[in-house]
C-alpha cells in the first residue's frame, strides 16, 4: 500500500495527541503528589524538589496503611471465592448436559448488565439485619455475587472451547469428573484463570458504592472509600490527596502494565454475549 510521508506523520501525530490526552490528568496527579505540601497550586508546574514525604503522610495521617490492609483482604477473598465458585459452576455449564442448564446459565449472565443500584438498597437492609454491615463479610459476599456473573460467563467459554475428545479420553482412562477438572482442565487453563483473576481483582479494588453503603466505621474502610473521606476532610490539601490517589491506583496500574493483554481481553469480552 502506498502511503505518503505526511500521512504517516499525521497518523502518529493523532495517536500521540490522544496518548497525551490520556496521560495528562494522570501526570497531573503524580506531579501534585510529589509537590510541596504548602503550595496551593493545583497546576502542573513540575515540583522543584521531589517530596516523597507526602506518601508517608498520606500513609500515616490519612490512615491509608489501615485502609490498604482492608482492601487487600477483601480483594484476595473475593478473587479466591469467585475463582473457585465460578470454575465449579462453569465446568458444569460448559461440559455437562442436564435439564435447565441453559436457563440457569442465563440467570448468571443477567448479572453482567445488572446495575448495583438495582440491588444495593435491600442488600443494605438485609446485611444490617444479619449483622454483616461494618464487617468484611458485608463487602466480600455481595461483591463475590457480582463477580460471579462475569466469572461463570468467562470460564464457561474456556470449558466450551476445550476439545470434547479430551474429556472423553479422560473418562475412558477412568478419571472421575472431578479429577478431569483438577488434573487436566485447570492446568491447561492458566491464561483463562489469570484473566479472570486480574479483572476481578481490579473491580474489587476499585469498588466504591458497596463500601460506601456497607461500611461506616473506620476499621473496615477500603482505599477508594478512604480517598473519598480524605477528600471531604482535607480538600485543600491537594498534595496529600494526590499522593493518596496515587497509592490507590498504583497496585492496579502495576498489574495492568505487566498483564495489559489479559486486562484488555477480559474487559472487552465481558459484554460479548452470545
Amino acid at each position: 500500500m502506498n502511503t505518503t510521508r505526511t500521512e504517516r506523520g499525521v497518523t502518529y501525530g493523532i495517536l500521540c495527541l490522544f496518548a497525551l490526552i490520556a496521560l495528562t490528568p494522570v501526570a497531573g496527579i503524580l506531579s501534585t503528589a510529589l509537590a510541596d505540601q504548602d503550595s496551593l497550586d493545583t497546576g502542573f508546574a513540575l515540583p522543584k524538589s521531589l517530596n516523597w514525604g507526602n506518601f508517608a503522610d498520606a500513609w500515616t495521617r490519612g490512615h491509608f496503611g489501615t485502609y490498604l490492609v482492608s482492601s487487600v483482604l477483601v480483594a484476595v477473598a473475593v478473587v479466591a471465592a469467585t475463582t473457585v465458585l465460578a470454575t465449579l459452576a462453569a465446568y458444569a455449564f460448559g461440559t455437562m448436559r442436564f435439564p435447565g442448564s441453559n436457563w440457569l446459565f442465563y440467570l448468571f449472565v443477567l448479572g453482567l448488565t445488572l446495575p448495583q443500584e438495582a440491588v444495593i438498597v435491600p442488600l443494605y437492609f438485609d446485611l444490617r439485619h444479619w449483622g454483616l454491615t461494618n464487617t468484611y463479610w458485608g463487602l466480600i459476599l455481595p461483591q463475590t455475587a457480582q463477580s460471579l456473573a462475569f466469572g461463570v460467563f468467562w470460564m464457561r467459554t474456556y470449558f466450551r472451547n476445550t476439545p470434547r475428545s479430551l474429556l472423553e479420553a479422560a473418562r475412558i482412562d477412568g478419571a472421575s469428573h472431578f479429577s478431569t477438572l483438577t488434573r487436566i482442565l485447570l492446568p491447561m487453563g492458566r491464561p483463562a484463570f489469570s484473566t479472570l483473576t486480574v479483572i476481578v481483582f481490579m473491580w474489587t479494588w476499585n469498588e466504591f458504592l458497596m463500601a460506601l453503603v456497607m461500611v461506616s466505621d473506620e476499621a473496615h474502610r477500603t482505599v477508594p472509600l478512604g480517598l473519598a473521606f480524605f477528600q471531604g476532610q482535607h480538600s485543600s490539601d491537594t498534595a496529600l490527596l494526590a499522593a493518596a490517589a496515587t497509592l490507590i491506583a498504583l497496585p492496579v496500574v502495576l498489574v495492568y502494565l505487566l498483564l495489559q493483554r489479559r486486562f484488555i481481553q477480559g474487559m472487552l469480552t465481558g459484554s460479548a454475549k452470545e
Partner: protein
Amino acid sequence: MSTGAATGTDPGATVEAEASARRGPTALRRFAARYRRQAPGEPRAVGYLYILPAMAVFGVFLLWPLGQTAWLSLLHWDGLTRATWAGADNYRHLLTDPELRAPFAHAAVLLLFYAVLPVAIGLLLTAALTRFRIRGMTFFRTVLFLPQVLAMVVVGVAWRAVLAPDGLLNDTLRTLGMGGLTRSWLGDHTWALPAVGSIGTWVETGLCLVLFLSGAQRIPRELYEAARIDGAGPVREFFTVTLPGLRAEIAVALTLTLVAALRNFDLIYITTSGGPGNATSVPAYEVYRRAFETGEVGSASAMGITLTAVIFALTMVVTRLVEGRRR
C-alpha cells in the same frame, strides 16, 4: 371433577385420568431419554452439585435483593417506620415529578458524552489509523486503555484538579488569551454536566479506539484494495469497508459505554455530588441519595428498577440492531 374421578361415577373422567396416567410416564420417559442420550459414564445430575455453591451466593446476594427492590418499589417507606402500600405511585411520580425526571434527562445527556462521542471519535480515528501498519501499537494501546483500569474515585480526584478554578484547564485558557472563558467548571450550573460528561469521554474513548483498531486489523486488506480499484475515496472506503467490518466491535463498544454511562455513581459522588443544585444528579446517584440520605426508600427502589429496565432495553436494542443487519 376430582371427586368424580375418585369415586368412579363419571366414566368420562375415569378414561381421562387413565389416559393422563399413561401419558405421564411416557412424557417422563421421553424427558429422561433426552438426557440419557449421552455417552456412558458422562456426568449427569452431578452438574447441579457443581453449580450449587455459586448459585447460592449469587441467589442470596444478587437475585433475592433484586426481587426485594421490585417489592420495595411498590411501597412508601422511610427505612425506619412501618411501610405502607404505594402501588404504582412511585413509578407514576417518576413520570410526573420534574425533580425525578431530571436525573433521567441528565443521564441521556451523559449517554452522548459516554457512548456516542467516544464511539464516533473512535471510528473517525480508526478510519485515519488503518491505512498502514502502526509501529509501537502495544505502547499506544496500553496508554489509551489506561483510564479504564483507574478507580473512578481516582479519576474524579484527578479531574477535579484539572477542572478547578485555578486548575490546568483554566490555566491553559488564560495562556491562550481566552481568559474570558475560564470558570469553575464543576460549580457552574450550565457547564457542570458537560464537564462531568467530558470526563466520561476521556475514560471511554480509549476503550473504543482499542476495540476498533483491533477489529480493523481483521478486515481483509483485499477489501480496501478492491474499494480503491473501484475508485472509492477515503470517505466511501470508510462507509463501505471499515464501518460494516466493525459492526460487532461497535456493538460491544456501545454496550460497554452505555452501561458505564448509566452506572455512573462514583464519579458524580466525587466530583459534584449531584450539584450545583441538582444540575448533575443522575439516577444512580439519586438511588443512593434517596435511600440512604433522605429516607425515600420506595422512590429510590422504583428508580433503581427503572434504571435497570432502561439498561436492559438499550443493550437489547444495540444487540438487535447488530444482529438485524447481519441477517
